[in-house]
Symmetry: none
Subunit: 537 residues, 2 copies
């Protein structure tokens, strides 16, 4: 059943995933995620639907090229009553300049009758025309057979005629979609097997939705039946119950089956990082229980499991978590917490002997801080500073005596309602108290600018540092006034470095200052700046 | 392959689900959930592990009887080196007074050798002894074959000998467990099929974990191979990636296969309510994308989908949501077409003719606003206000003339660094300018409190309104111009209503004020408050 033809992976996070309730990608989100998808070895990246919304237009207007993945533009087959050459939407799709196009069309007679309301032969014709036109004018044309499984169950001859029209017109891939997500694995396996008697499996793809909780199983069933392209999304993002989780499909096919893939070990190790990146971009807590890549996916509670796992991980782990870039997480054991912290030190280049008493203290500090709401997984620079400070390696580059931030919303002289933020900062630099003030487009921006004014004279290297991201999460919304705010800040400099810091406080401005302070300190530490300030703290 | 024997459902939420990190059921939680599990037609409720912790002891001490479900106590087979009759843990299990007991034991030779470190024949003996003893002293004895699939793959003869010992000793059910969750559906189907040649399928159960995202598919595969008991948990709760989601298994088997179950239509309609109840009890936001029962499971966002669903729901819905007690939900967003916006109006009770020119304008407004950074699909209350304002239905309940927020971080008299936020708000209420001031634990909290001070006198209904969630995201929609901040606020009142509003601005305090303003306005509008303020705006 398995052949030498490798299974290819087609990611639809940026198009079908964008259909998810509550998901709104910016152009910058799309650019960053596409780069990550390429890094983790996805073969095709569906970038969006040119013409459907301003975000997708902007993304394609500035489309990049990737080292491995091909960028695909998604759209519809031509409209009824037009020729493919005279359909402006189809022209827009082809002219989006992607390396390939994927066109969706109907294959369920019920949909053709009820939703489209056109003659069935016309539906077959418009698929064939559109694919032929796209195949002639782009590098690669694909056809998404919408509702294929429902259609095949209802009228196999018609459903087959539709996909055969795409095949004969030169589609590189014919993708069978379980659009409503209601088909079960044994049906998928049977139907894909029957289709592959007419269209070679190496040109068949599968696109599943998780409405019965079987999207991954359905995708695997299709591969068993011969399909060689798997479509899905990061973390199973997607409308309703989501699409097939492409990460689970990739990991399972590469690590647990005999099917060939082009994925390298290094690409598989990217899976956990890219999964977390998506949730960071969406500013939502990652689902801890995600297969392979969730934070709890290899978590072990105390007692028998832990000692057994430490004796031999295979006792309670189905794969080695490092294969997908994840790690084991031991919940209670102090010893394991120690190993965990040591492993994280090692990651940032801090080598400590296993029996160093400082490690014990640091483990306690990290645990206490994480209990307060600090999250060091997404803020490696703050974790590094915490560790280096405990070891006495980080000087105080400046002392903060006081700050005051004022946000003022009022009517200006031209009768417009404007808001202005102004920050006053009193620091001790070079042993002297310095007071600076700045305005900004928000309190954190104003605070950042006022702080730089005070520091730039002695630390000119701060001139090339800028804030690139800022995220806020309220950690205990139920606690009312006791809610804690966590601020994550990403900074960057002209040397291309990016670093993330975290601040926690009941007060958002305070939390922001703490994260900002760590951001500046990390940069100065890594440039070997001398500590020329007497700390007032 | 299917027989007249019905598939039975065994819920382990209260035992295996309680192993989840962060999950801590009280006795009251267990009692309430068990009653709900009975109501939704579960055949067996695993109540806990008597002797393992005080909660489980208290639950069994006060064990109820259910109209349908049988209560099961979970525990281990006897310890090596003791007789079953002389094992205090086994005695405790039997004396818990449940209607049945389920004992877990090892069936993987590697575990017997490495984790238990006992002779393999002794392992087989202790299974047989324990089951025989329990079968003689309780109404029903079951055996959970831990790591059965890994064991069978490694040493089928030994794994079979273990489960056959349980069968011959009188176990009503022998449950094959994929403890590490790494087995794939085709393996489960093959292995269960092979086991059912030795032990009748009507006595075989299946217990799966979701480590590859296949727990539901594995459970269904086992049923296809003959197993007639499915174990799982509500919402797939459980260690690591969770157990099989019992709700998905029940709905799929009852609604989409020919297998017989004892579930009634009324029991299936309980599924959504019980799923949400679990999350309520755990004080966490329900997962929106849960198959069948998630809030998004029947949500439609794409414009084409919406118009088709309205013509005939079968076009984009795999079942009627009412069958599982769920409902259809139309989402508004960047992706939305005219049909979505109209459907959404209908949901909030706003009826507009399809060809009303105001609809066109509103669709454009929604799209433009979403491009600016507004996200209405997570902020239904702001969407409603946007629409009602456009139709001139929402009065200005108060006018904002000015606000000023100050955040001050300084050393206090006791030598501590403290941060305080103070807000001053000038509003026009009842035609008069009112100035109020308040301090809070952050700028938004202070602003909220000052605003309420100004409004409470004329709008006393605001007293029972509170902020329940606050989220911030920085968006950089287009390169070049300054970053835009999006704030989402969730409010609630004592009548149990929750509503979400959104505010966007370059300034975070400004964006927060806008979201706050919408939150207050939504409440006043829905309570029919008269507009007693002359707007200054």
């Amino acid at each position: 059943m398995t052949t030498g033809e490798p299974v290819t992976f087609y990611d639809s996070t940026l198009r079908d995933g964008a259909q998810t309730q509550g998901v709104d990608f910016s152009v910058a989100d799309k650019q960053a995620l596409a780069a990550s998808l390429n890094r983790m070895g996805v073969d095709y990246i569906e970038g969006g639907w040119p013409g459907a919304n301003p975000t997708d237009d902007a993304f394609f207007a500035d489309r990049p090229r990737y080292s491995h993945a091909r960028l695909i533009a998604f759209g519809m087959t031509r409209r009824p009553g037009r020729s493919a050459a005279n359909d402006p939407a189809l022209a827009g799709l082809i002219n989006a300049g992607a390396q390939g196009v994927c066109m969706v069309g109907k294959t369920w007679d019920f949909h053709v009758d009820v939703a489209l309301g056109i003659d069935r032969q016309e539906n077959i014709d418009l698929i064939g025309d559109s694919v032929a036109h796209a195949a002639a004018h782009t590098e690669e044309a694909m056809f998404d057979a919408e509702h294929f499984f429902d259609g095949y169950k209802n009228n196999p001859a018609f459903a087959l005629a539709c996909v055969e029209a795409a095949y004969e017109a030169g589609a590189r891939w014919i993708v069978l979609c379980d659009t409503n997500g209601g088909t079960l694995p044994e049906e998928v396996e049977r139907i894909v097997g029957e289709v592959s008697a007419r269209i070679p499996g190496r040109q068949l793809g599968i696109h599943c939705h998780d409405d019965t909780g079987n999207a991954v199983a359905n995708s695997l069933a299709a591969v068993r039946a011969g399909a060689r392209q798997v479509q899905g999304t990061l973390n199973g993002l997607g409308e309703r119950c989501g699409n097939a989780n492409l990460i689970s499909c990739m990991a399972t096919l590469a690590l647990k089956t005999d099917f060939k893939t082009n994925l390298t070990d290094a690409q598989l190790r990217e899976l956990t990082g890219v999964s977390r990146e998506l949730d960071e971009r969406l500013n939502r807590a990652p689902s801890q229980g995600l297969p392979y890549v969730g934070e709890s996916a290899f978590a072990h509670k105390g007692g028998l499991h832990v000692s057994a796992v430490q004796r031999d991980p295979r006792t309670y782990e189905h794969i080695d978590p490092a294969q997908v870039g994840n790690r084991r997480h031991i919940v209670v054991s102090d010893q394991a917490g120690r190993a965990n912290v040591l492993a994280r030190f090692h990651e940032i280049g801090l080598e400590l002997p296993d029996d160093d008493p400082q490690v014990t203290k640091l483990v306690e500090t990290v645990k206490a801080r994480e209990f307060e709401g600090y999250a060091y997984d997404g803020a490696a620079a703050s974790f590094e500073l915490l560790a280096r400070r405990a070891l006495g390696q980080v000087p105080d580059y400046f002392g903060l005596n006081r700050f005051r931030v004022m946000d003022d919303r009022r009517w200006n002289a031209r009768g417009e309602l404007v808001t202005e933020s102004e920050a006053t900062v009193t620091t001790t630099v070079r042993g002297e108290e310095v007071m600076t003030v700045a305005t900004g487009n928000g309190p954190v921006n104003a605070l950042d600018l006022a702080l730089r004014k005070a520091l730039l004279g002695v630390y000119p290297q701060l001139a090339d540092m800028r804030l690139t991201d800022y995220k806020v999460r309220i950690l205990t919304p139920q606690a009312g006034s006791g809610a804690v705010t966590r601020v994550m800040i990403e900074s960057a400099d002209r040397q291309g470095r990016h670093w993330c810091t975290v601040g926690v406080s009941a007060n958002i401005v305070d939390a922001s200052f703490n994260a900002l302070h760590d951001g500046i300190t990390w940069k100065l530490y890594h440039e070997g700046a001398p500590a020329i300030a007497a700390a007032a703290e």
